[in-house]
């Protein structure tokens, strides 16, 4: 079964996401800051990365996403944001933000599972 890495500094979000993903049969590994997250991805090479924007960290989620891409890690990234479409500050898919999709917090289990499924399918298709 696919392994999904969750990188978020909010433990409740990590746990909630974990519950939802495990219920759908995915394996889950978690990290609580960008440094841990980087190590986790390097070590376990997950099939999908769920990455929070983590604005408070010095090297935020965007930075980490770029770092992965620079090092040739092509694992699909699903980004968690809390400022996105609702506030009009929408991040587009671009060179600067090398992620594959966004999920806005609060998390809706259906939306999360649907997006995870889609990204994993597209990964297998490649």
């Amino acid at each position: 079964m696919a392994l999904i890495a969750i990188i978020d500094d909010d433990k409740d979000i990590v746990e909630t996401t974990g519950v939802v993903l495990k219920s759908a049969g995915y394996e889950v590994a978690a990290a609580f800051n960008p440094g841990q997250g980087y190590a986790l991805v390097k070590e376990k090479s997950p099939d999908l990365i769920i990455l929070d924007v983590m604005m408070d960290e010095p090297d935020d989620g965007f930075f980490l996403a770029q770092k992965f891409r620079k090092e040739g890690i092509k694992t699909p990234i699903l980004m968690y944001t809390s400022i996105s479409k609702a506030t009009g500050l929408e991040f587009g898919k671009s060179e600067l933000v090398p992620v594959d999709d966004f999920v806005e917090k609060p998390i809706s289990p259906e939306e999360l599972l649907q997006k995870v499924d889609k990204l994993l399918k597209s990964k297998r298709g490649e």
Binding site: S82, G88, P106, P109
Partner: protein
């Protein structure tokens, strides 16, 4: 190009507007001057003033020339751009004064030099010039005017230049009378220079004040921006824990952590709705902050139908709980796209539909009717909720206003919503109207209708047309 403009006026629209208005005023005044010259030329004889043939001809030609250049100024004035470094409205002001002074000097010479009844008009030009031209330029003009008059008087006194006194105005040939000439020239010099000095001083003080005002307003806007950023930061901090809580409630309610009793489920549902309300409010504040900070930058093509569907979907939890039926009706040939800011328009409909739900009772009805018109589309949102009391319909769009029957009903709500909704709709060059009772209503539940009209092509956002110097107040 001659630099006439102080540096701080570069982006100060009001400065240019003032110059433009003054230019127009001068042009209008000049038409009156033309009429006065014509009167002077032909009606002097009534009071026994006789003009020679040369004088008549010179006044006629000069008047015609003045009229011609005035028409020219009138024509080019609206075409000038307010840019320093190019020929701008201020240069037009200078050109007007130069032309007028030349014409005036000519007329003064041909109406008697020191004896000319037109000499007094120099003063007007000096005052006007002092108000709009830089100090060194107006002093140069004043000195030149005095010198020219002095030279003319000197030459006429010594018969080196033919004199053209107005017959019948003075008893003697005053221009040949040395004490008169000396006293006149001293007087004239003082009159001109003191007029310039005083007018210039007042104008300078006004400019200084205006400059201070500009700087203060700019500081206020910087402070407002900082405030908005601070609010965004804080609100974002508040959003995280609420979003996390709602995520947790969501997985409990959906049974991810095991079966729960219907009673617990119902309470969880309530908690979810309440946290949802908090998030909605937070998003509104974030949106306003963004609107104030970025000053409307995400302007694009927006599909109104998509927005409505999304907003209805977003409120489906509450609708389900209250068993309120939301219906979307479309009329006319479909034309769903308008120009605008997607997230702001979403905020508009989310607010109105949210209100409709909030003030609906169980088993209520909400009807969204979209009419696709030729140049604009119209969205009507009607409910059969508590309605709006008579006499309060106009007030509902005021900031912080909450109707009496709402206050009794519940304590939540900021009252900020509808004033913001109106602001956004108007920025899209649309309009919003409220009506109560609504066609869906009945005696107990009169209901409310909101009608929002949005043009397909919003044109430029209204905000951009407003003068730059407004304080962008916010949350």
């Amino acid at each position: 190009m001659l630099r006439l403009v102080p540096e701080w006026t570069k982006d100060y629209e009001e400065f240019w507007e003032a110059i433009k208005r003054r230019n127009l005023l001068f042009i209008k005044l000049r038409y009156i001057a033309v009429l006065m010259l014509i009167t002077f030329n032909y009606s002097g004889e009534i009071i026994n003033i006789k003009l020679s043939n040369i004088q008549h001809s010179v006044i006629e030609v000069t008047t015609a020339v003045i009229l011609l250049y005035n028409l020219l100024f009138h024509f080019i004035r609206p075409k000038l751009k307010s840019e320093s470094g190019k020929f701008n409205p201020l240069h037009l002001s200078l050109l007007q004064i130069m032309c007028d002074l030349t014409a005036l000097t000519l007329l003064v010479y041909f109406t008697g030099g020191v004896e000319s009844p037109l000499l007094i008009f120099y003063v007007f030009h000096m005052i006007i010039g002092s108000l709009i031209l830089p100090t060194y330029i107006i002093y140069t003009i004043a000195t030149l005017s005095v010198l020219v008059i002095a030279v003319i008087s000197f030459l006429q006194f010594h018969d080196l230049l033919p004199a053209h006194p107005v017959t019948g105005l003075y008893l003697h040939q005053e221009y040949r009378h040395l004490p008169f000439v000396i006293v006149f020239l001293v007087d004239f010099t003082f009159l001109i220079l003191v007029s310039v000095f005083l007018a210039n001083k007042i104008a300078h003080q006004l400019y200084k004040r205006e400059k201070q005002l500009v700087e203060t307003l700019e500081k206020l806007n910087v402070a407002e921006n900082r405030k908005q950023k601070y609010i965004m930061g804080i609100v974002h901090e508040i959003k995280s824990p609420i979003a996390a809580s709602k995520s947790i409630l969501e997985i409990i309610e959906k049974g991810y952590l095991g079966e729960i009793s219907s009673q617990v489920k119902e309470k969880i549902e309530r908690a979810k709705i309440r946290t949802g309300e908090a998030l909605e409010m937070i998003n509104t504040i974030l949106r306003i902050s963004r609107m104030r900070l970025l000053n409307q930058k995400s302007f694009g093509v927006v599909n109104i139908r998509d927005i409505l569907t999304k907003v209805i979907e977003g409120h489906s939890d509450v609708a389900k709980l209250k068993n309120v039926n939301i219906k979307l009706i479309e009329k006319g040939k479909k034309k769903e796209n308008v120009e605008g800011d997607e997230s702001l328009l979403e905020l508009v409909f989310s607010n109105i539909i949210g209100n409709a739900l909030k003030y609906s009772e169980t088993n209520g009805n909400i009807e969204l009717t979209v009419r696709y018109g030729k140049n604009a589309l119209e969205v009507q949102i009607c409910d059969d909720g508590i309605g709006i009391p008579k006499g309060e319909l106009e007030k509902i769009f005021d900031s912080y206003y909450r109707s009496d029957n709402i206050k009794k009903l519940q304590s939540e709500g900021s009252g900020l919503g509808l004033s913001l909704v109106k602001e956004i709709v108007e920025q899209h060059n649309g309009n919003i109207k409220a009506k109560s009772p609504s066609p869906l209503g009945n005696k107990e539940r009169p209901g409310t209708c909101f009608k929002i009209k949005l043009p397909y092509a919003a044109g430029k956002f209204r905000m951009e047309k407003e003068p730059r110097l407004t304080i962008k107040g916010g949350v």
